[in-house]
Subunit: 473 residues, 2 copies
């Protein structure tokens, strides 16, 4: 006998069973249907890519830590994908024959060597949509509206998709006198507003601050007061409606170098969103929105659920015009968004409750008597043919109590019991394992259900299926 | 500008787009529904496992070559799963609280460092069902019938699921005088019958043979003539029906040491299959069936499509009572089967044809005039609200010819064209890109379709949606 191996999971990994998977499948199907209605085509790419493919500018800049190894047989360095965007860029560059603009959706596992925590895994599911090959704000608008539509069809109408434009932020920093080379650092601080608040942001732009939680001293960027005041002035822009906000931002940035194109794109985007029916309810312009990632070049956006702000961003994205150029000389401006499926699923369960049944079996046929096994098998097939999810208890010579505990553990609502006496009489006993249902059931005539004790009935075999279908419905 | 990276796939990997993925999704959904009707629960496990978990007795014996690496940060050896059975065994051993018998289905990517070829990839999809925790032939029968049902519901009623019992083969070899330690080698030769024929098998059991294709000399096992004659006698057993075949095998092995239990299980399995409605049509006993893998301990089975024997086995499985014991002292006899999803999909496409449309978009709204973009966007949303899959051409200032080529490349059947003249008249032009459809369309009244030239119509905007829905149906 070989040494016994401990059956443990790799750090950051998980197994998923039953209800959770069925919910994810349903969510994925709903989102896919919406994206196909918007004209997106599904793509799947391998889990493995060359390290060189993965660790382009983007990976370096975002600092993703990835699984990599030398595959000595082929003399190559391999790694597991850490997102679905880099593989998309690789695919598009490799397939000039695929007509642009290319609109694809993709869902699958991505892998990151992050610190695991509650709800944070090293293998997790993303669901992305992207449009590659057009600079038009039409694409950005469509992606945001597709996202809003998906959230609505998932039963989450109370959400906020906030958007901004990286060029607007850059122009505001420019107007405040911030040097272009410091813009990224400043934007990363602005991105912390959710966590550290407006005052925290201003402090961290200047001399630094003391972290409220850890008490640690966080060094500031050391911007001069004039620049911080300029940024604060931009962040203070308030207005009643989305249109008024766009007007105010335009007025604030009028004449600033580099502001003209972003302002035009901001206006186009606002117009297109309105034409698509988004009137500033779930999709809203927010000049304060910052996303820390370097590679965004135009609009950026992020979704939160109004009832669950503590979940943070459940979807985010933006325009990235440089990623494909890593692989191709073709000019391929792109925009995309990514849904964090696991987080969205957790949020949906919290808001809507979830079908916690570990199994979807409607009825268990128990086995009382080995001689009757062929009859039990015929019965279970009859139940299946009638469209019920039915199983037979697969281990012979187990006491009926243990068989019912199996039904109970797997939350199977009904168990059929048939011994040789019932067999001869052409009858079966049905146990309704959900006590509540049992109490509610009325006593019917002799050929229908006869209540013997709560939750247990005798029924004519001929009536079994109709009754079970009625009760399972 | 950084050095440009070649956008290439890792050896043995592939991208999948559009129609192919939709077909796989539909297939997976059908199979899942069948397995849930049989009471199986979905499970997902990570792609990554410890090498120690993967390279148990099974991996060693089957000689699977896997991707492995040292993850130095955590000081562990990791690998990618090469099947879905080893992770199941790990899961079951780690979760004694999950009530047995445990019935799960699972689909996902597995990874093997095999030689890639036509239709053979290093990452491919499997779809498995297994029952863990019962020695009863009820489980084996249910798995085979679930497989037959899945194939029928996929529209493949013309298939053969052949089954045998490893213990029957062992008893036959024992009766022929083959030493137990040589049984596995002999069974591997028997497993080649499909490729090398009956005479080839007998030759390879003896002095060896010359391979018909390569002309190479294949060494034989060197069994004595008496043993080969004994095996040939077993392989020659013929009978009219499944029941007669079971009788003949029982008679052949009567009194042979070790034959009693396998004979009883063979009889049970035959009885249970019949009770489940399988009368020897698609599920058939075949005492010649051998499967080379070492770890099978009881029944074995394999499915082929009658019309496509060249595809070989599209599903296979058997009983493996030792795998879980690698991880646990709990006695957990198990039986399972695995579908090669990619191969089955290829077969299904060949038999049934396939929806080759790269996109499921029904209609493309073209953009003629930048000033009308809001109108185009409103129109595309109206089409979507009516349940059509609709997209707007996302790149402005592109000639209409190129926009129509986009529709044609993605096989979008209809394109809507609306310039300022049409706009004012409250009309749109619809191009029916499938010429056949265009020819068949009748000229209707002024407020309906007006045929101008084949495949192009003017229509009142108010009638657009109804007409498109009718044509797309």
């Amino acid at each position: 006998m070989a040494k016994r191996i401990e059956p443990k999971l790799v750090k950051g990994m998980r197994d998923q069973l039953g209800a959770q998977l069925r919910q994810r499948r349903a969510m994925t199907a709903t989102i896919s249907t919406v994206f196909e209605r918007f004209g997106f085509t599904p793509l799947e790419t391998p889990a493995l890519e060359f390290v060189e493919t993965l660790t382009g500018a983007k990976a370096g800049e975002t600092g993703q830590r990835i699984y990599t190894w030398s595959h000595e047989e082929d003399g190559v360095e391999l790694g597991l994908r850490f997102d679905l965007t880099v593989p998309l860029a690789r695919f598009v560059a490799a397939h000039p024959e695929v007509r642009r603009p290319f609109k694809r959706y993709q869902t699958g596992s991505v892998f990151r060597v992050d610190k695991p925590g509650a709800g944070r895994f090293r293998e997790f599911t993303q669901f992305d949509i992207d449009v590659v090959g057009t600079p038009s704000m039409l694409a950005d608008a469509e992606i945001m509206v597709a996202m809003a539509t998906a959230l609505r069809e998932l039963g989450l109408p109370e959400h906020s998709i906030l958007w901004n434009h990286r060029g607007i932020l850059n122009a505001a920093l420019n107007k405040s006198g911030v040097e272009p080379k410091r813009a990224t650092a400043v934007i990363r601080v602005l991105d912390k507003a959710d966590k550290i608040g407006h005052d925290g942001v201003l402090a961290e732009l200047g001399d630094g601050r003391v972290d409220g939680e850890s008490g640690a001293r966080i060094e500031g960027l050391g911007l001069p007061t004039s620049q911080i005041e300029g940024i604060a002035g931009f962040l203070a822009i308030e207005a009643g409606s989305d249109d008024a906000l766009v007007d105010a931002v335009r007025a604030h940035l009028m004449g600033v170098k580099g502001a003209a194109d972003p302002i035009r794109e901001m206006e186009d985007l606002r117009e297109y969103l309105r034409a698509l029916g988004e009137n500033g309810d779930s999709v809203r312009f927010d000049p304060r929105l910052a996303r820390g990632m370097d590679y965004y070049t135009g609009p950026i956006f992020e979704a939160t659920l109004d009832a669950l702000p503590e979940y943070g961003s459940i979807m985010g994205g933006g325009r990235y015009n440089e990623l494909v150029s890593r692989f191709s000389s073709e000019q391929l401006p792109a925009v995309g968004a990514s849904i964090g499926v696991d987080r969205l699923l957790a949020a949906l369960s919290q808001l809507k409750g979830s079908d916690e049944r570990p199994s979807v079996t409607d009825v268990l046929v128990t086995t009382m008597d080995k001689k009757l096994l062929p009859q039990y098998l015929a019965l279970v097939q009859e139940l299946r043919a009638a469209g019920l999810n039915a199983e037979i208890y697969l281990k012979p010579k187990v006491r009926i109590g243990d068989q019912l505990r199996y039904a109970s553990d797997w939350d199977i609502p009904f168990a059929v019991i048939m011994g040789s006496d019932e067999m001869r009489a052409g009858r079966v006993t049905v146990k309704d394992l959900a006590a509540g249902k049992a109490a509610a059931s009325a006593i019917e005539n002799r050929n229908q259900w006869v209540e013997e004790r709560p939750g247990q009935f005798d029924i004519d075999r001929a009536h079994l299926i109709a009754k079970l279908k009625e009760l399972s419905a």
